[in-house]
């Protein structure tokens, strides 16, 4: 069991309270996943010549040292802004090059996201503690996803927590369990996809990354996942301009969608949606099995 929440603002006035709204939704899902929690938030978009990377360290990470290392080896204009155990790194270099350099040169930290808008924060502990650690209540943005984890397939560590990055400004959260993840991971590794853990959900993220790299659209990638992923899943996938939802053909993992003129929300349970302003007038429904739902704003 895990909990998933997603919130996408249609009315720009809600952007200033995105963090506190997502936090209220996420706390409702704490019973479904008390082991760890994570959020992906889309905000403070950087220009086309820049890239934003989230790095995950621990309490003892020397972020000034990290900044010096990046300045010397990758980009002299780098800015590192620590937030608890994570840091947001602004770079003015090519995205793929930055990802490769960080992967090969910074052993003390791990990259959780890269793109122009996305930031991913995740940590062990009760969702309420995780929310406080990163100050989610004060964050602003256009849309965000959250996950509360009750581990079934792999250990309770920060690395095994969701969301998982699936490429530039893309991420995935998962409720369910995949049964063919070991074989699929080996196949994807052989095709150059990197994995940080033995987690099944990371394989789903890696699968989408692989499809997208081959030139498929997000919708095509998700439809292909229906054939290639075996197991139970409700996925929420964050994109630069919106989010998408997919359930497996049996659809026994719960999902509720709700929409008003001001927002679109998804959650494992209605009680998260009940926290949102105007929820009593929302159109509420369950997404159909094996059907891709997506919302995009004009970029």
């Amino acid at each position: 069991m895990c909990g998933i929440v997603g919130l996408y603002t249609k009315n720009s006035e809600l952007q200033s309270s995105l963090g506190s709204l997502l936090s209220a939704m996420l706390v409702q899902m704490a019973d479904r996943g008390p082991d760890s929690a994570g959020i992906a938030i889309y905000h403070d978009t950087v220009g086309t010549e820049s890239i934003k990377v989230t790095l995950q360290g621990d309490q003892d990470t020397d972020w000034q040292l990290i900044e010096r290392q990046i300045a010397e080896g990758l980009d002299p204009t780098v800015k590192v802004a620590p937030i608890a155990t994570h840091a947001v790194v602004l770079l003015s270099v090519d995205g793929d090059h930055a990802v490769e350099w960080i992967d090969g040169n910074l052993d003390a930290v791990r990259m959780t996201s890269n793109g122009r808008s996305i930031e991913i924060y995740k940590e062990r502990g009760h969702p309420r503690e995780v929310i406080e650690t990163f100050g989610l209540d004060d964050m602003t943005g256009t849309h965000a996803l959250g996950h509360t984890r009750m581990a079934t397939e792999s250990r309770v560590t920060t690395e095994h927590s969701h969301p998982f990055s699936t490429g530039m400004d893309l991420c995935l959260v998962h409720n369910g369990s995949l049964s063919n993840h070991n074989r699929l991971r080996e196949n994807l590794r052989a095709d150059g996809i990197r994995f940080q853990t033995d987690n099944d959900s990371e394989v789903a993220a890696g699968y989408l990354t692989w499809r997208l790299k081959q030139g498929a659209t997000l919708k095509e990638s998700m439809e292909a996942a229906l054939a290639d992923l075996d197991g139970f899943y409700t996925f929420a996938i964050g994109t630069k301009n919106g989010f998408a939802v997919l359930r497996d053909p049996i659809a026994c993992k719960p999902a509720v969608l709700a929409e008003t003129d001001d927002w679109v929300a998804m959650s494992s349970e209605y009680r998260s949606i009940a926290q949102l302003p105007g929820n009593e007038k929302a159109r509420v429904w369950e997404p159909n099995p094996a059907t891709v739902y997506s919302w995009e704003r004009e970029s």
């Binding site: 409702q28 659809a251 026994c252 719960p254 509720v256 349970e269 209605y270 009680r271 998260s272 949606i273 009940a274 509420v284 429904w285 369950e286 159909n288 099995p289």
Partner: protein, 224 residues
């Protein structure tokens, strides 16, 4: 009797519904906010009105009580219900009425997947449509659907009877359409009337077991 779930816990409400003092009571529940286990295990003849949406297992194991929800219900609504009446004014999530033995469950909106799975005697009337795999292995009881049914309806069904007014996307293994006899029109008319729905019984089709999958013994026909 009023319960405000924003202040009082669910157990407070449920304990009351288990006690003889709830016999004949009119109970109103505010601020359910999608919480789980609302009005579970009610044991007495009373009326419960829930003002809002409910989470998992609302009205499960109900006996005798008449429970109305002004909103949507989460998974496992009226699971293993024994008797009484449960009415949902919105939609119901997956496996509503699962394994339930008796009483009447009315969904004014749509019911999601696996509605009436392993039904054991409950009657379910859905004013809207039902999701995939509904009435899977349903043993006895009736499922009435005024809208459409999604894929694999009635898979591995035993002796429950299904009436659908709209389209059926596909029938599950061993589920077939069967002729509507006078006795079927009569029982359907009664169920629609009890649910307060004004549809002509003649517009429905009946579905049930082809009896090729399990060992049906004609000597036991009177048991169903």
């Amino acid at each position: 009797m009023k319960f405000d779930l924003a202040g009082q816990g669910i157990r407070h409400l449920n304990r009351y519904l288990h006690e003889p003092e709830s016999q004949g009571a009119e109970v109103e529940v505010d601020n359910p906010s999608g919480s789980h286990n609302i009005a579970v295990g009610a044991l007495h003849n009373c009326q419960v009105l829930v003002n809002g949406h409910v989470g998992y297992y609302c009205a499960a194991m109900n006996q005798h009580a008449e429970i109305t929800v002004r909103g949507n219900a989460g998974p496992g609504l009226a699971e293993n219900m024994m008797s009484g009446t449960v009415r949902i004014m919105g939609n119901a999530s997956q496996y509503c009425g699962a394994t339930a033995h008796g009483g009447l469950l009315i969904i004014e909106g749509n019911a999601s997947s696996r509605c009436g799975i392993s039904l054991k005697g409950l009657d379910i009337v859905v004013a809207g449509s039902i999701g995939h795999m509904s009435a899977f292995m349903a043993q006895t009881g009736r499922l009435v659907v005024c809208g459409d049914a999604a894929e694999s309806m009635g898979d591995s069904i035993y002796e429950a009877r299904i009436y659908v007014r709209g389209k059926v996307a596909s029938l599950g293994t061993d589920c077939i359409e069967k002729p509507m006899g006078d006795e079927h029109i009569q029982e359907l008319r009664k169920l629609l009337e009890r649910a307060g729905l004004d549809y002509a019984a003649g517009a429905f089709k009946r579905y049930g077991s082809a009896r090729r999958l399990y060992n049906f013994d004609v000597d036991n026909a009177s048991l169903y």
